[in-house]
Symmetry: C2
Subunit: 337 residues, 2 copies
DNA sequence: AACATCAACGAAAGCGCTTTCGATCCAGAG
DNA sequence: CTCTGGATCGAAAGCGCTTTCGTTGATGTT
């Protein structure tokens, strides 16, 4: 590894001047600057990030943490979509992402401690559980942070407009003549799940549609299997719904599966609308009508918010709500009277 | 931020002793060791990773790079699956992953340079193009590296058994009575694509099955759209196949789409078998029969291989081939004579 | 000629930690 | 009583870089 001292020796200047030249300080003449840069290139010099960070207290890294409540981690399309978008944009600003582990080489430490240890300049969290203590700890610290997919009073957050997502779905279903509309919900412990429930209820009430208790069934942690189970409950009802708004595409796909198994055809016998617009939604049969979350946009807004805090060196608390859109496909149909 | 000097002052020992106590050196008495550890906990001491790395030349990080030839990046289920598995296991060993960007804050540098700059202890690459110059540069360097999804003579690689994957597929199709079997291939520039072609041809020849040139159609970069296009070509043939082995699930799903569009029903009129076993495969209609790549296993083997190199401090060149399995679902059917 | 100004450069301290090499002290050996 | 060896501890250098502050010499001013 070659250092600025090697460059200093080679060029005849001091290490100070070399450093300054490399960082484009104004008090170095154009000529020596060029000479230094040239021999740096020639000798294959690369700065040492650790030394730099140690001395400047800036690491040009961002810590990324995602909760794995359901064990899928990065494998979930929403997560990987957001992270990928975030990565692309953070990259443009010069930052690398570091996916941190919880365990600091056998000393049992928290995520916050780990990120502090790593000296990241900021943290990006994708977490759906507003009261995860690990996340709370990070939020309460003084490090810049942006959290995605949940609401919070104490930091920058960005999430989809879950409320009007529900409105959008119900409105659409209603416009197709449905009035008996059920909701397969995400667990209340999950922020998005909770809000989508509210969106559903609000929209239903607004139209004076009945919301029997039995029409609101908990789909748990958004998995296909849980969606399938939830749909069974709905179908066993004495007065089953003609349409169901499902809080996640995976669950919706599971729901469609059971419907099919039970001999119902979609959308003829039952309309279904999902949430997320994962890739799969476009390729199941029938193609799933769904509320699209804009993972790209979420990623860019999150980046912007984080950059702003890093630059201003102070936390800013704000909510950035990303609009959702209805993707009209094949799983919903006008109700024939 | 509190340092070992703070601990030294507080406990009355020297910073040397503090450091040794924290690192469990043998020449510190049990008593002072405990005292130091206690006040460290009490004062909320956290080591500074940059200082540590600077002094030890070990960063406990692994650089991760994936080629984005098709622009999907981490969004592709195979990629995210492997990375997630790798992350989990690397974590257990105490390593963090760093997803690096190409541009080192405006100086245009290569991935290798970037990883060198960051001082990673090893590199993990997911790349399908054996002659990507960036990847070659990393392989030729002296840093420990493991590459996934391609073959190479000069480093550790781990990839699926693409050859017997083809064998498996053709064998299955043949056992169902098919003899006119086509292949929608991945581009030859992509290692997996090339080998799967060979697997297809070998298996066909082994059974004395004809392989007309028209039966081998290039599906490009494994996208759904390209799969759909490829299938069109196949269907336009004077003597179309009764079964097609597709080199990737996305392409297979695209292929099924066109088949359906053209009024063919699967598997009645045409059997299709894919490759990957992405989640979607289980939920399209009909459920896609496919060759499953074991992303989990790939991740763990990659971790092991990399750890070994890091510990031994020398590159080891080897090929680790992960077995694939046939996931029999609904998209293939016995050929009625 | 005396002075102020400015451009260009370097000495040195500091970032937080590790590690080598001594120094010190005390128990037990001779 | 002297000597040896082991157990504990610390001084100091070093990792590679940044940044403050001072020095030097050249230029322009009056």
């Amino acid at each position: 590894m070659i250092t600025i001292y090697d460059l200093a020796k080679k060029t005849g200047f001091s290490s100070t001047t070399v450093s300054k030249a490399l960082n484009d300080y104004p008090d170095v003449s154009k000529k020596t600057k060029q000479a230094i840069i040239d021999t740096a290139a020639e000798m294959g010099y690369l700065p040492n990030a650790h030394a730099q960070s140690l001395s400047t207290k800036k690491s040009w890294t961002i810590g990324v943490m995602f909760s794995e409540s359901n064990g899928v981690g990065m494998r979930h399309p929403f997560f990987s979509g957001v992270i990928e978008s975030f990565r692309k944009h953070a990259e443009k600003e010069g930052y690398d992402l570091i996916l941190a582990s919880r365990n600091l080489r056998n000393r049992g430490t928290s995520y916050l401690e780990h990120f502090l240890y790593r000296g990241v300049d900021g943290i990006m969290v994708i977490c759906s559980d507003p009261k995860d203590p690990q996340v709370q700890e990070m939020i309460n610290s003084s490090i810049p942070i942006v959290v995605i997919d949940m609401s919070n009073q104490d930091c920058s957050v960005v999430f989809s407009d879950n409320l009007s997502g529900g409105e959008l779905a119900i409105n659409y279903l209603y416009s197709l003549g449905h009035t008996k509309i059920a909701h397969i919900a995400g667990d209340h412990t999950i922020y998005a799940g909770k809000v989508r429930i509210k969106g559903y209820i609000d929209a239903m009430k607004k139209r004076n549609l009945p919301v029997p208790e039995s029409y609101l069934v908990n789909g748990g942690l958004f998995s296909i299997q849980e969606g399938a189970l939830a749909m069974e409950k709905l179908l066993d009802l004495a007065d089953p719904p003609t349409a169901v708004f499902v809080a996640g595409d995976h669950m919706a796909i599971g729901a469609m599966e059971t419907a099919k198994t039970k001999g119902l055809s979609i959308p003829e016998d039952l309309s279904i609308i999902g949430y997320d617009d994962i890739e799969m939604a476009s390729y199941v049969t029938p193609k799933l009508t769904t509320i699209k979350q804009d993972t790209d946009q979420i990623g860019v807004r999150a980046t912007q918010l984080l950059m702003k805090q890093i630059i201003q060196k102070k936390k800013i608390v704000t909510e950035e709500i990303i609009p959702v859109t209805l993707m009209e496909r094949e799983s919903c149909k006008r109700l024939e009277k």
